[in-house]
């Protein structure tokens, strides 16, 4: 699977890797981040 050129949903979690961190990483791979979410279960 090549990330470059893909439209990516970054679906993170507050107690794991936040969506914003995933998005920042994926942008460096050439992916287009179309949605960033950070789930929170309390």
């Amino acid at each position: 699977m090549e990330l470059k050129g893909k439209k990516v949903i970054a679906l993170g979690e507050r107690d794991g890797i936040p969506g914003t961190s995933i998005a920042d990483c994926l942008k460096t791979a050439g992916a287009e981040v179309v949605l960033t979410l950070t789930q929170c279960y309390v």
Partner: protein
């Protein structure tokens, strides 16, 4: 997964079709598997708009080598590096593979 989030994901999947990939950052096997199940086979709790809606989106975890290998190493280290030490990578990936192999 939050019902509003399910709606957003459904809308994006419908707009962009086969170009869409989901990358997860869940901290344990159970949450990773349930989230992957929701975006791949449909909401397993039958509570949200993705109940009975198998989007079949390709789903990966940020800890997978296939994903990590495409990311700038310095950015990965800054954004993910510390969490790698605390997460049970093998069990998380087992959960993802169960979802992938279930379709």
């Amino acid at each position: 997964m939050d019902l509003e989030d399910q709606s957003l994901i459904q809308r994006i999947a419908e707009e962009h079709g086969s170009d869409v990939v989901v990358v997860l950052g869940q901290p344990d096997a159970d949450s990773a598997e349930i989230t992957a199940e929701t975006v791949h086979n449909g909401d397993p709790t039958w509570a949200g708009p993705l109940a009975g809606v198998p989007l079949r989106l390709p789903v990966y975890h940020i800890l997978e080598d296939e994903v990590k290998g495409q990311i700038d190493p310095a950015t990965y280290e800054a954004e993910v590096g510390l969490m790698v030490l605390t997460l049970d990578r093998e069990r998380i990936l087992e959960g993802l593979n169960r979802v992938r192999n279930s379709a």
